[in-house]
Structure formats: structure tokens, C-alpha cells
């Protein structure tokens, strides 16, 4: 028999790469089970007439109930108001920090991202102690003016807390857009005779809109999705708490809960599609030729700028201050400040009930690692391969951005409850694994984005020259690609980690047992009783520390481009 030599032929762009095809198939399968299936089930329950047919009667019933109509209206109004007030704070801050140079700017930039490190529901509790009916401010008002202002009552309180928490999203995105504007675009307008407010309206504003809109969208979706804040403030006439209440009190089979879930998804997806449509229309390739030079400011102007920043940031840091004070409080009620201080609260959560902190580190650690792994693979397939199905992969992996945590949780309960998961011998929802799955899915879009952005910076010729010098594809990936994108991967992982540390809306529905709960769940539990509040605050401080460390590390890795990780 003649000895035949097989020469591996590599023809780029022709035929199917079977290894890539296998990876895509496996990924699509995973995403189908953990993203598409739960959402589809929720949709199906809301549309099913119970006999295999499709009906809209459940939706009709939804709109017939005044409570639901009010909740829908409230959710939309709250979302819009949060975006509106958030923009009032965020846009001037972004403009000042990008365009002006003044002493104290670093402090302003740092403080402006701090609201992101406190979970909104934790901030809600703290704000109630300061601005609530019997909070410090109203106590003073009562004492001096015999009046009180209901800052924290009803929808006002929800909007206030969410505005203070979410405005950094708008600020970070707007700032990125602003600093990406090529300075010559404004200079040429000045050269043509334009300046001041006119210049801002005709050139600067339209050019920074993409970032601004992205920030508004994220804020809107997050605000509508937020379950913790209304629960903590005990204001239930919003969609998210309504869905939660239907499913947890009436039961897993209550159709109304599913209908609300579908409406939540429609709102998120709808706003996402609208924003995308607008963004793609105005996708400006602003050539970045060196950063715009920030104008130095001193004297009275600087005082004015700093006063504005101090006012805004002072208010937005109230929750942090409140929560720290509360965590050391022995007794704090109907008084300006706690009447006695103690370290007991930290002893409680670190030694008597340490599982909350331990669980959080375990779950978010695993979820972040899996997210980084999946995100890197998906980004690689998106950019470097021409394989069929990669765009579908991208669409599904990005979908969780628009899926409220409550909805995902309800879907998981519906799909996995009572189904002994293969290899587990028990339903997935009866173990803590379901929390890791939920965390992984919810933050996957972040790591995909971060890896995608990082990989885009790596020109394919860097890889080709390695292959040309004899490195095979795996070695090229390990030796060239991976080191170059590691910054983006780590940053994406850190963002997944720290946002999961304070995830509540799916956690609260999916925790199988109290001892499997993470920090956010612990805080929620402690906050239920006035006596446990201080311990809950101590847990909140731990969460803040975790997220702060994460944010700091992200800045170290990502530098000034951290904002881009929160983009669409």
C-alpha cells in the first residue's frame, strides 16, 4: 500500500470549521435552556388558555384591574422621572468633568461613581432614616418649623432613591461620548462663527447623544426592573413588586404574575429596540484625535462648579453616610443620630451568621469566572469567525440586559421546579446552583461586551504574524490574543462580580433556604424587623466594601474607559 501523506489544508473563509460549529452548538444549547426556555415558558403561560390554545384574555384581565393599570402607569412614570432627574444631575457633571480642569476634579469624578457601589434597596433604608417621616431631617423640620416633608412617601421615595442610585449610568456614558468628540469638530464650528450655547446645541449635544441615550436607557430599564427599592419602602403599586407578590403569595400558577412579567419584558425590550434604532441612526464614527483639552478653571467659576458638585454629590452620598452610621448603631429611632453605638452588628454578620458573606463570595465568584469564560469565547466567535449562528449567539447572550431579574426568576421557577435536573437528582431550584446560574446569565452581556471591545482592539495581523512564525491557533490564542485582551476580560469579570454582589430581584425569589442566601438576601431579611436593621446595615457596609474594591480594581485595569463597560 502506498504511503499517503495527508496535508492539512487551511482555506480561510471556505467551508465550515467543525470545531467552531461544535462550540457554537453547545453555547446555543446552553443559552436556549437557561435564557430562551424560561422566557418562552413565561410568555406561554401568559398566553395559554389552559387547553393548548392561545388567548389574550389574561392580558385583557390585566388591563381591567385598576391596581394593575395603576402599577403599569406608576412604573412608566417612575422610570421616566428617574431618567429626567438623573439627567439633570448627570449631564452637567459629565460636561464639567470632561471639559473643565479644576482643583478637586478627581474627587468629583470618584464621588460621582460611588452611588453605584450601594445597592438601591440598602440606600432606601438609609435614606428613610435621614429623610423619612421620622428621619433626621424631618425631626429637625418638626422641631424648628413644626412641619415635615414627605420625601420618602410612596412613589416620590422610590424615584428619589433610584435617581440618586442610577444617575452615574447617565453620567459615565455621557462623559465617554463627550470625550470622544473630536475637538476639531467644535473648532471648525467656532471658526465658522458659532459659539456658546448655540455651539453646544448644534454640535456638541447631537454628538454626545449616543452616550446620553445609552445611559438613559440603562437607567430606565434598571429603574423599572428594580424590585428591592419598592419592597424596602413598602410601596407596592409598581409592576415589579406586583409580579413578585403574585408569584410568592398567590402561587406559582397565578397567571397574573406571568402577564406582569411579560409586560415588564415588553417595556424593557421596547425601550432597548427604540434606543438601538436611534443609536444606529446616529452611529457617529467620531475620529478620536487626541483628547479634547480640558479648559482650566479657577477663581469664582471654580467655586461655582465645586458648589454645584458638592450639593449634588452631598445629597447622593446621604445613603452611604446613613448606612455606615446605622451599622454601628445600637438604637436609632426617632432621633437625629443613634443614641448608642456598638460593634455587635458586625459580630453578628461576620461570626454568628457568616454564611451570607461566604455565599455571596462563592456564588458571584463562580458566576464571574463562568461569565468571563463564556464572554471571551462568544466575543472571539463574533469577531474572528464567519460561522453561521454567531449573530444569533450574540443576540441571545445580550438579551438578559432587557430581562428583569424577577422575570428570569419566575421563568426558572416555572421551568426547573419539579424537574429533577440530570446529574443532580433534585430540581435545580432546590439548590444554590440556581442562584449561580441566574447571576451568570444576568451579567453575561457585560463580559461579552467587555471582551468584544478588548478583542476589537487587537488587529488580526498580530495573530496572523504569530501564525506566520509557526504558532498554531491554540498557541496563538494563548500567547498573543489572551494577554492582549486580559485587561478587558478582568474588567468584565469584575463588573459581573460587583453587580451580582448586590443583586436582589432574582435572588429574593430563587433562594432555596435561608442559609443558602447571599448578602442581598440577608440584608432583606434583617431589614424586615426594626431590631435587625442595624445588622442589615452592617451587611450593607460589607456589600459596599466589596463593590468599592471591585470598582477600584476595574479602574486600575480599565483606566478611564470604565464607563464603556456600562455601555450598550
Amino acid at each position: 500500500m502506498a504511503k499517503t501523506e495527508t496535508v492539512p489544508v487551511f482555506v480561510p473563509g471556505i467551508g465550515v470549521d467543525w470545531r467552531q460549529a461544535a462550540i457554537v452548538t453547545i453555547l446555543l444549547g446552553l443559552l436556549a435552556v437557561f435564557i430562551v426556555l424560561p422566557i418562552a415558558r413565561v410568555l406561554w403561560v401568559s398566553l395559554s388558555d389552559g387547553e393548548g390554545g392561545v388567548t389574550l384574555v389574561h392580558f385583557a384581565n390585566f388591563f381591567r384591574r385598576p391596581l394593575f393599570r395603576e402599577s403599569l402607569w406608576n412604573s412608566l412614570v417612575a422610570g421616566v422621572l428617574v431618567v429626567f432627574f438623573g439627567s439633570l444631575i448627570a449631564v452637567p457633571l459629565a460636561y464639567l468633568s470632561v471639559r473643565y480642569d479644576f482643583k478637586g476634579k478627581i474627587l468629583v469624578n470618584t464621588l460621582a461613581t460611588l452611588p453605584l457601589v450601594i445597592p438601591p434597596f440598602v440606600g432606601a433604608v438609609a435614606l428613610q432614616l435621614i429623610l423619612g417621616r421620622s428621619g433626621a431631617v424631618n425631626l429637625l423640620l418638626m422641631r424648628w418649623f413644626d412641619t415635615s416633608i414627605p420625601f420618602m412617601e410612596g412613589l416620590t421615595g422610590v424615584v428619589l432613591v433610584q435617581t440618586l442610585h442610577f444617575f452615574p449610568f447617565i453620567m459615565l456614558n455621557t462623559a465617554v461620548s463627550l470625550s470622544n468628540i473630536d475637538p476639531s469638530l467644535e473648532e471648525v464650528a467656532q471658526n465658522m462663527g458659532s459659539h456658546g450655547l448655540r455651539l453646544f446645541r448644534r454640535i456638541t449635544l447631537p454628538l454626545m447623544l449616543p452616550g446620553f441615550i445609552a445611559g438613559c436607557l440603562l437607567t430606565f430599564i434598571r429603574a423599572v426592573d428594580d424590585l428591592g427599592t419598592p419592597l424596602m419602602l413598602n410601596y407596592k403599586n409598581l409592576l415589579a413588586p406586583q409580579a413578585y407578590l403574585r408569584i410568592t403569595t398567590i402561587g406559582i400558577d397565578d397567571v397574573d404574575g406571568y402577564v406582569i412579567c411579560v409586560i415588564l419584558v415588553v417595556i424593557s425590550l421596547g425601550s432597548l429596540v427604540l434606543a438601538r434604532k436611534y443609536l444606529s441612526l446616529s452611529e457617529y464614527a467620531t475620529v478620536h484625535q487626541g483628547a479634547a483639552v480640558a479648559r482650566p478653571v479657577a477663581g469664582m467659576k471654580r467655586v461655582a462648579i465645586l458648589s454645584f458638585c458638592a450639593l449634588v454629590l452631598g445629597v447622593s452620598l446621604l445613603p452611604h453616610i446613613g448606612i455606615v452610621i446605622l451599622s454601628f448603631a445600637k438604637v436609632w429611632s426617632f432621633s437625629l443620630l443613634p443614641t448608642a453605638y456598638t460593634l455587635d452588628n458586625f459580630t453578628e454578620i461576620l461570626f454568628r451568621a457568616p454564611h451570607f458573606v461566604k455565599n455571596t463570595l462563592l456564588y458571584t465568584g463562580i458566576a464571574a469566572a463562568v461569565d468571563v469564560f463564556l464572554g471571551a469565547i462568544i466575543a472571539f466567535l463574533l469577531i474572528r469567525s464567519r460561522i453561521w449562528g454567531r449573530n444569533l449567539l450574540d443576540a441571545i447572550a445580550t438579551l438578559p440586559i432587557a430581562i428583569p431579574g424577577v422575570v428570569l426568576a419566575v421563568g426558572y421557577l416555572r421551568v426547573f421546579h419539579g424537574w429533577d435536573f440530570p446529574g443532580l437528582g433534585a430540581p435545580l431550584t432546590s439548590t444554590w446552583i440556581i442562584l449561580v446560574v441566574a447571576y451568570t446569565v444576568r451579567r453575561l452581556p457585560y463580559t461579552v461586551r467587555a471582551s468584544y471591545a478588548a478583542l476589537q482592539q487587537v488587529h488580526v495581523s498580530l495573530e496572523e504574524s504569530a501564525q506566520n512564525l509557526g504558532a498554531n491557533r491554540l498557541r496563538t490564542f494563548v500567547k498573543i490574543t489572551l494577554p492582549l485582551i486580559s485587561g478587558g476580560l478582568v474588567a468584565g469579570g469584575l463588573i459581573a462580580f460587583m453587580t451580582n454582589c448586590v443583586e436582589l430581584s432574582s435572588t429574593i425569589m430563587l433562594v432555596p433556604r435561608i442559609e443558602s442566601g447571599p448578602i442581598s438576601y440577608g440584608i432583606y431579611l434583617y431589614m424586615q424587623s426594626p431590631l435587625g436593621r442595624a445588622a442589615g446595615a452592617a451587611l450593607g457596609v460589607v456589600a459596599i466594601v466589596l463593590v468599592s474594591v471591585g470598582t477600584y480594581l476595574t479602574y486600575r485595569v480599565f483606566g478611564g474607559r470604565t464607563g464603556s463597560a456600562f455601555r450598550l
Binding site: 476639531s184 469638530l185 473648532e187 471648525v188 471658526n191 462663527g193 448655540r198 447631537p206
Partner: protein
Amino acid sequence: MAAGHVRLENIGKRYGELWAVRHIDLEIATGEFYTLLGPSGCGKTTLLRTIAGFVAPDEGAVFLDGQSVNRLPPWKRNLGMVFQNYALWPHMTVFENVAFGLKERKVPRREIEPRVLQALEQVGLKGTERRRPSQLSGGQQQRVALARTLVIQPRVLLLDEPLSNLDAKLRQEMRLELLTLQRDIGLTTIYVTHDQEEALALSTRIAVMNLGKIIQEGKPREIYESPGDRFVAAFVGKSNFFSGTIIRSLDGHLEIQTEEGFMIKAASPPGYKSAGDARKVLFYVRPEAIDLVEPASQPPNVNQITGRVAASAYQGSLVEYEIESAGRIIRANDTNPKGKPLFQRGDEATITFAPEDVGIVSE
């Protein structure tokens, strides 16, 4: 004074401890095409931006049509600037881009459209009004930027390396178009470039800059044919430099012995006074002034150096040679080589040049 007159008086701009430009005096008459030529970092763009008003000078003053404009912001100077990257606004159509300056000037609505269309026609872009800048090629974007500037009828046109982002062929085309357009309109133009060929081709006058100073100012031929110093001779065109000692001067000629030992005969520069011989001089010979001949074809004569061909690059319209002799490389260009035998690497060859082609730059 006619509109479009520019004068800089002792302009200086400092970044930190470093002077980007200093002690700059220049005067540009109406209708001139004045080029600031120099390597990157020489301060030419800073100077242009000072005139436009984007850079506030630390010293000196800018005068437009006799008036100091130091306190005038960019939007009140009525100067048209074209940026290196064109700086077309991506959120506006071509029409809106060009109409922008007219709207800022509160030009009546019914006048805007014909003027925009006329400006676009002027640059050969009729029919692109509705497109977005991103849908245009580099050359077209360049023309839009030009139309946008011309339409406002600025006092002076400021061009910051406008051709540097185009490919070589397009650059040559645009160069000619720009030349015709500017001469037709008669608009005072200040042009910044590091491309000496561009500067020579376009300008009525050139200022060669280096390290924040103007080294030499003059018409293109003066700059190229009588560079004032080594920098100008090297930056504008190519040059073979030699240093040597004047052995003697004789009826309009100098005899120079170079450090390599070559004996060179040079035409005395105008106004040369033989202030004692044995002086050190630096001189140059342009590659295109040097001819290559067979080594044995002539007895050693005036300004002949024999060496070995170290490199030979045939380029169609010319052949570039590098000849090695006495341990140094001499560049020679054989123009119009059609039909002539070519020298190959390793061949012996003799170079020869006329005494008039020896340029003395400093002593």
C-alpha cells in the same frame, strides 16, 4: 488695505517651559499662497491655530487687515480653516455641513441654498447634498470641507495639512485643483505642510520652519535653489553635503578640498569676498545635478569623483544611484534614463557636476 492681509508681530507661544514658537514675524499680502513648511513639531500648526484664534499667544500680536485680533475669539475672525481630518460633522448631511456657516451668519434662507449648491459645484460635488459625510470617499470629504469653508467667503483661508490623508495619486490631483481654485478666487491662503514638494508646487512664498522659528522665507525657487542653511538644503529637496576648506579663490571660482580629499571647484556665491583663504565651508550638491559617466571615458577633470555603485533604483522617470567613494555615500539622480545604459551595483562609475551646482550654505 485690501481684505485678506495678515501680519504676525513677534508671536510666541509657550507650553510649560517649552516655546512651541517664538519671535515669529511675518507679513502676508492679499491673494498670496503662503506656506508654513517644516517637520512635525516645528510649530507650524501652532502658528496656524494662533492665527485662527484657537491658540492664545503668550507674546506678540496677530493683525488681520491692520487690526489686532488678539482679543477676538475664533468665531469673530471670519477666517476659513480646513482641518487635517476634515472635521465634517457626522450628524449633518453634506448640505447641512456646508450651510452651517451661512446660518451662523444669519444669511437669509433663500440665499443659503443657491450659495451652498454653488460652493459644492465649485469643488465638483454637485448632487451629493443629501449624503452623510461617512458615505463619501476621502477625497470627497476633503472637497466638502473646502466647500464649507469657501462658502462663507472668509478673509483668509487656513489649510492644515489638508492633503496628507489622501493617497499619493489623489493628492497630486487635489494639489492642482487647489492651485487653480486659489489663483482663480484670489483668496489669501495660509497652508501648513511638511511636504516640500507640495509647498514648492503651490506657494507664492514659503516660510521654512524648524524648532519654533522661521529659518528662511522666500519664493519657492529661492528656497530650493539658494537655501540659507544646511537645514533648509536638507529639508527642501535632497542634498549631498560636504565640508571642506577653501584652498583658493580665482576669477569667480573657489577651490575647495573636502574632508574626504576630493578637490571641488565651485562658483563663488554672489557677493563673495575672499577674506583670506583656508576657511572652513559647508556645501551641497543636489542629486539631480550630478551625472554618472563611465570611469574610463574621460581623464580626471574638474569635479569628478570615481567610486563604486552601492545601490541603483530604476524608477522610470529617473534612476537613483548611491555611489560609494572614499568611505562616503553620494546620491545621484539620472533623470530621463530612457535608452541609456544603466549602472549596476558594484560597477565603477564617475560622477561629475558643474561648479554652478555647488551650493555653499555656511562658512
